[in-house]
Symmetry: C2
Subunit: 129 residues, 2 copies
């Protein structure tokens, strides 16, 4: 069986596996930011922030543009689309689960509202009026 | 600004950041598997496979059921839905990009097919027939 290797998904999911980096992505969604602006909300050193930015960069999630003395960072959404598509393959699985849950709840509701069945009295042989 | 921490996304994206684990998820999508069956396609030891399986388990992606001497593994799709939803927040970003690209291509097509503009001859004052 031939399996396509997707080495970019490795660095992509690795980049997403950290809350600081996910918050940086969220911040970049609001518009481009300098390295200082990206680092500001976190109680981390500029060096630590720079390491996170590099992880985002190597995952293709961030593009850095040098304007004079300023490094401006911009969100590159393409890899997020790839990850979304990869996960989308499994959508039927969680949808099936939700459908099954929905079915169960409906059945339970139906049982609650249907009239209580009355005991059926069997006519006794030769008991016809 | 209040940020909701989502520690489960950490272990989830970490679990997805490895090609062996992604292939195990794909295998589980085909139905439940024993630990041996999950390990088989990879040139890795059972101990290494077990470590991967534990990473999937702690990310909530795999449920292990003991039946006699057999450990049966099953895909738990819920966390994949969470990751898909997290990424879905950024969908507008890559859609906008694609829309912009689409617009550019259409404009280029239009330029190629539209007739070559003819020089407009301005009517000269007093030149009305």
């Amino acid at each position: 069986m031939v399996e396509h290797s997707a080495p970019d998904l490795d660095s992509l999911f690795h980049a997403l596996g950290d809350p600081t980096r996910r918050r940086m992505i969220r911040a970049l969604a609001g518009g481009e930011k300098t390295v200082g602006e990206l680092a500001k909300p976190f109680a981390i050193s500029l060096a630590a922030a720079s390491k996170h930015i590099k992880a985002l960069e190597s995952a293709g999630l961030l593009r850095r543009e040098v304007r004079g003395r300023t490094h401006l960072c911009r969100l590159e959404p393409g890899p997020l689309a790839s990850a979304h598509a990869w996960l989308g393959f499994y959508e039927t699985f969680w949808t099936e689960r939700l459908d099954a849950l929905d079915r169960l709840l409906r059945e339970e509701d139906a049982r609650k509202t249907e009239p209580v069945p009355q005991p059926v009295t069997q006519p006794v042989k030769g008991d016809i009026p």
